[in-house]
């Protein structure tokens, strides 16, 4: 039966409305996990707080397991799920730019809105910077169009590239994630800071 919108079970407008509700839920979960604190976010890079890793990896695994089980029960046709196309160089370049901004500023795009919504001025400054960045990217697009479109790979799946089934790959990722959670908690003890109290 799914995806609901592709199979015309719900309309585009209902889809937008559901996205709005899910967005509010997403923001709420981010905030209640302390993602509006730039120190907690930056802690990921210094090792003293790995909540970011745990929350996002748990979300990804939960989503993957959910989708695969729904496909197993014939609730969703996975071939209609949109997969972001991969432009290898711009993905890597964008990752570096975003990562550098993340370390320096302490927010990623979503969490900056989270912080701004509870009244943090640095979050607001971040949103301003993001708009400037969008403007520069859009206006200067001819300059980096070549780089942006280089090395187009379609929408590759890791499971297809490795020749493994989706289920097996998911199991591997679950195991890798649990290993990383363990390593993260080890790092939190090792790089603990006196001036930072981690509250789970």
């Amino acid at each position: 039966m799914g995806p609901l919108i592709v199979n015309e079970i719900i309309s585009d407008n209902t889809n937008l409305f559901l996205a709005f509700l899910i967005g509010i839920g997403f923001g709420f979960v981010l905030e209640s996990n302390g993602f509006s604190s730039s120190r907690r976010l930056a802690g990921m890079f210094y090792g003293y707080d790995t909540t970011v890793l745990k929350v996002f990896f748990t979300a990804a695994i939960t989503g993957a397991i959910g989708l695969l089980f729904m496909s197993l029960f014939n609730w969703i046709d996975l071939s209609y799920i949109y997969i972001n196309p991969t432009y290898l160089w711009s993905t890597l370049g964008g990752g570096v730019v975003m990562g550098a901004g993340f370390i320096m500023g302490g927010y990623c795009p979503g969490t900056s809105f989270c912080a701004a919504s509870i009244g943090k001025l640095d979050g607001l400054a971040f949103i301003g910077g993001m708009i400037i960045g969008v403007l520069i990217f859009a206006e200067g697009f001819p300059l980096w169009q070549g780089f942006y479109e280089a090395k187009f790979m379609g929408a590759p799946l890791l499971s297809e590239m490795l020749g493994a089934s989706r289920g097996f790959l998911t199991l591997l990722i679950i195991l890798v994630a649990l290993g990383m959670f363990w390593a993260g908690e080890w790092a939190e003890k090792k790089f603990a800071r006196k001036d930072y109290i981690k509250n789970d």
């Binding site: 199979n7 089980f69 197993l72 799920i81 972001n84 795009p109 989706r166 649990l178």
Partner: protein
Amino acid sequence: MKARIMLATALVPLGLILAAVPENTTKPYKLTAEQLLEEVKSGTQFIGPDEVAGMLIAKDPSLQLIDVRSAAEFEKYSLPNAINIPLVDILSPEWESYLNQDIRLNVFYSNGTNDANQAWMITRQLGYNNNYVLQGGLNYWAETILNPEAPPSSAPNEEILKYNLRKGAGMALGGDASVNTAPVASPAGPVPPVQKREAKKRVQGGC
């Protein structure tokens, strides 16, 4: 118990199940009984013999006639350029590329319309597009195209025009003789797309 161990005890078994079961590749596409009834009632699956005859004479390469009768009956008589997919073999994988495609206009025919309709219903339920049924089957084809009955001279002009067209078509397609003569040469050239359904949009998403 630590949160990590609780998480592991929940996620690892689920992952093991996913790794162990085969991937689901079936298409969940299915019409409900009401939808199918609606289509049957409105008769959208039918294509009239005049239209098919017109396409045959024009050597329209998008037309693919499919004879769903038995091979023996197909040998005895068939429409020009038809291929034979007996109804009992319709699910055989060798024919899937013919039935499940977006390029050509498939027209099923049998002696009446029963077998052709059954073939259409099966392919429709599989989610295949571009499959149709020759209205009235070969019997009606013989009546209207091969041996059209002349309307009375008092009939309206449209009737007479239709009769003339049918007579011409019948002559071009081997009318009056009950056995098909030489098959028309295979049409060449690019195959035009027919009745393409609007491709389903993928859901756009992102972070």
